[in-house]
């Protein structure tokens, strides 16, 4: 029983990272742009929040938790949205290929993040491991009265606030896309930009906004990872990149529906951590187990293409540039 609880808890934490990543990417893809820069964006989000609060915590005697959280989220959102802006400018205004630009953004983002992650201390003239204890504590704080409610408390109420934020963002995104006019317009842009254009929707503006806001949300995945998941430090081990690609996989798994991202992300978490809880695994067979999320995504991808249901397809114009006077 304990091990099941701890598996679920691990899965929820893990799932939260990729849930942010994939919700941002769903918003982006709904505008018709496939952004393979998600890992880079998550890197940017992670390092920006870390750098921001690092400076703040080191400059202040008694850093306030609230200010720390605000700085972390703000920095993450701005840096990630800027990453998205580079991608948007290149693919929309300059019509560069989306796949190639996205991959470049991943290289760039991981370069920036790992560079600063590895050099923050050197640059600041210190030598110990980088740490932002106040912020990390704020991100990891749980609401004790609820968290102590036995099993339910452990399973549902014992996480840092971003776990709940992710769920809220997923639901809000679902509401936005399906129950608001702006969301409808955005989806029209991704399905058929020519139709949207003829209907008077500003395709360029919608794409820019979707990409930048989507990137900002994806970036929170990096923030959560840095502040909560690895407790406010930095590791140049490429984990964020792996998680970023899993977020892209999750988008496929959800068939481009953000409310599915909640369950999907936790399922990915369970699949990912399962190896710890299956008895009798050797270290090598654990690695095989870690393949599961990707294999499951492949299976979903195949089933979706096999069923060919109109409702479960990627946005129809995904990956294609739009140029009105094309003829």
């Amino acid at each position: 029983m304990d091990s099941i609880i701890s598996l679920i808890r691990a899965a929820v934490s893990f799932g939260t990272v990729i849930m942010f990543g994939s919700i941002g990417e769903i918003i982006t893809e709904k505008s018709g742009n496939l952004n393979l820069g998600v890992p880079g964006i998550m890197y940017l989000g992670g390092i920006a929040s870390l750098s921001g609060v690092y400076v703040y915590e080191n400059a202040t005697e008694n850093p306030s938790s609230l200010v720390c959280v605000v700085i972390a989220l703000l920095c993450a959102f701005i840096a990630s949205a800027l990453g998205g802006l580079i991608y948007a400018f290149l693919t929309i205004t300059l019509r560069a290929n989306q796949n190639v630009t996205g991959l470049t953004l991943t290289i760039f983002g991981s370069g920036v993040a790992n560079f600063f992650g590895g050099s923050l201390n050197t640059l600041a003239g210190k030598f110990e491991q980088i740490a932002v204890p106040v912020t990390s504590a704020a991100f990891r704080a749980v609401f004790a009265p609820l968290a102590n409610l036995g099993i339910v408390g452990q399973l549902v109420f014992s996480y840092g606030f971003m776990v709940y934020l992710a769920v809220i963002v997923a639901i809000a995104t679902h509401f936005f896309l399906n129950h608001t006019r702006k969301g409808l317009n955005l989806r029209a842009v991704g399905e058929s930009p020519a139709t949207a254009d003829a209907a008077g929707i500003n395709v360029t503006k919608n794409k820019y906004l979707a990409i930048c806001i989507g990137a900002g949300i994806s970036g929170f995945g990096g923030t959560y990872y840095v502040m909560d998941y690895i407790k406010g430090t930095w590791a140049n081990d490429g984990s964020i990149e792996t998680l970023g690609w899993l977020a892209v996989a999750l988008v496929i798994f959800t068939t481009w529906k953000s409310k599915n991202a909640i369950g999907g992300a936790y399922l990915f978490g369970i699949l990912y951590w399962m190896y710890n809880y299956v008895p009798g695994l050797t270290r090598s067979s654990m690695e095989i187990f870690k393949m599961l999320p990707y294999v499951v995504t492949l299976v979903v991808l195949i089933i979706v293409s096999l069923k060919n249901s109109k409702e479960k397809q990627p946005p129809a114009s995904l990956g294609q540039a739009y140029f009105r006077e094309d003829r």
Partner: protein, 510 residues
């Protein structure tokens, strides 16, 4: 009060080297139905796209209600009360009718599906439409989609509606219904511009008719004073007696025998229903029908590009020997390997017949690149052929390596037809061979087809211009709803007779 709704002054639009509209000056009155008449490629759609904000004019002014305006985007057009129904529908497939209707509408109002449904039903009632707001577009028929497009424009409060070739995809009954709707809109004080190249429609529906020719505005006349002859003359320039040659070939042999040809498309729709007819050498067999009634599938089925039902039969008779071969179930390559010289000029020239990014030379070997020895392609012969075609058909191209997509429509078609004829076909199939071409190039094509006919080739000509079909073809197969609805003798038929067969299925399905 001024009764001019829209006024164009010297409007010009240029695409690269081509002048699509040159110095167009014309007016649209309030509460009138104006037909915009012109041949294919005369710039009707481009002109209207400038009103609807899709294109931006390179010169000239557009005034609405007497005020010069600047229409940079469809949004600007909507604000000015201009709405356009495009020939290729601008609808989102996975959205419902109602969702499509409210796309892009700027309002602070909450997105309340029930309210939107009610709004939609209200419009439908007012103008007599029948449409379910909750239906997804991918489940709709063509005429339903068109209705939705019109509802969309009305919902946005358009006072000036532009309909681009709205009847091209409709049955006669549906057309009549549409015309009633248009008259209805006129009574409600709206101006309607209908783009068409069908004369009888112009006469049936419009108050005035404006004519474009090769991008230039010719004149606007009252429909009451117009006749088909006058309009044709204005549209084509000089009074044309079409006068297409129809040489007589004495010896004719059966070349293809098509029996029980059935075909079901990917969506499970029966697009060809029990097609039976023969094709003879030394004749041009015309195929008439409203577009989308099985013409494309029929030609592709013969060419081996379309999956057909297993009991279908297309038998080919070899000219020299008494051999016959079954073509059904074979791929284009297998058909070629049988020694059948089947040439095919498809409707989609750059998307099927040619490789747009390659030059003339490389396109010449599209079908026979495999004949070169070894693993490499041999560019020598294709180059020579390209040179010859360029010479013979007067193809205008900077070089044989210029990507063919950069050539004008007429030159692209010359390259394609030239290649298909160069392979010494025994059967030559053409789909809309003169679509979008100017009169001169069209005549070049007719001439080439007649030459082939005289050489004993069996020519199949799918066309849309009934006048041409009547003058050019020896026999005419009329398709309607995927069936052969009649086979007529080109010498003893009239286009009225063909038109009737195109639109009225003789016997109902059992």
């Amino acid at each position: 009060m001024n009764d001019i709704a829209i006024s164009l002054q010297g409007v010009t639009k240029v695409f690269g080297e081509t002048v699509a509209n040159k110095d167009v000056t014309m007016d649209v009155k309030r509460g009138e139905i104006l037909a915009l008449l012109g041949e294919n490629g005369s710039g009707k759609t481009t002109l209207m796209n400038m009103l609807s904000g899709i294109y931006y004019p390179d010169g000239g002014t557009i005034s609405v209600d007497g005020v010069p305006v600047d229409i940079r985007s469809p949004k600007d057009a909507f604000e000015l009360g201009i709405g356009m129904v495009h020939q290729h529908f601008k609808l989102v497939d996975v959205f419902t009718a109602a969702e499509n209707m409210i796309l892009g509408v700027e309002t602070k109002e909450r997105f309340d599906r029930k309210k939107v449904y009610a709004d939609m039903n209200e419009i439908c009632e007012k103008y007599g439409f029948d449409i379910n707001p909750e239906q997804k577009v991918y489940d709709m028929s063509v005429s339903q989609k068109q209705t939705l497009e019109i509802v969309k424009v009305l919902y946005r409060g358009a006072n000036i509606l532009i309909l681009d070739e709205p009847t091209a995809v409709l049955t006669p009954q549906e057309t009549e219904k549409l015309f009633n709707v248009i008259r209805n809109m006129k009574e409600n004080g709206k101006s309607v511009i209908i783009i068409t190249h069908k004369l009888h429609e112009v006469l049936a529906i419009s108050d005035r008719v404006a004519i474009l020719r090769k991008g230039e505005y010719i004149d606007t006349i009252d429909t009451s004073t117009a006749t088909e002859a006058i309009l044709t003359e204005m549209m084509v320039g000089k009074k044309v007696e079409l006068n297409i040659d129809r040489p007589e070939v004495k010896e004719k042999f059966k070349r293809l025998e098509i029996k029980h040809l059935n075909c079901v498309d990917a969506d499970g729709v029966r697009v060809l229903k029990d097609i039976n007819f023969d094709v003879y050498s030394g004749e041009i067999l015309g195929i008439a029908g409203i577009s989308g009634n099985g013409q494309k599938e029929l030609l592709e089925a013969i060419a081996g590009l379309q999956l057909v039902s297993p009991d279908s039969s297309v038998v080919y008779f070899e000219p020299s020997e008494q051999e016959e071969s079954q073509l059904v179930g074979r791929t284009p390559k297998q058909i070629r390997d049988l020694g059948v010289h089947l040439s095919f000029v498809p409707e989609d020239r750059l998307g099927m017949g040619l490789v747009g990014s390659m030059g003339m030379s490389e396109n010449m070997m599209l079908k026979n690149y495999g004949e070169a020895k070894g693993v490499f392609t041999d560019l020598k012969r294709p180059k020579a052929l390209a040179d010859q075609i360029k010479e013979d058909l007067e193809v205008v191209t900077p070089s044989l390596n210029t990507p063919v997509r950069k050539l004008s429509g007429g030159n692209v078609q010359k390259v394609l037809v030239g290649r298909e004829i160069a392979s010494n076909p025994t059967v030559l199939m053409t789909a809309y061979a003169v679509r979008g071409l100017d009169i001169n190039t069209s005549y070049t094509i007719y001439h080439l087809l007649n030459e082939q006919k005289k050489n004993g080739v069996a020519v199949i000509y799918v066309g849309e211009d009934l006048d041409v079909l009547v003058e050019l073809c020896d026999r005419i197969v009329v398709l309607c709803g995927g069936r052969v609805n009649g086979i007529l003798d080109g010498r003893n038929t009239t286009k009225e007779e063909i038109g009737l067969l195109m639109t009225n299925l003789k016997e109902e399905e059992n």
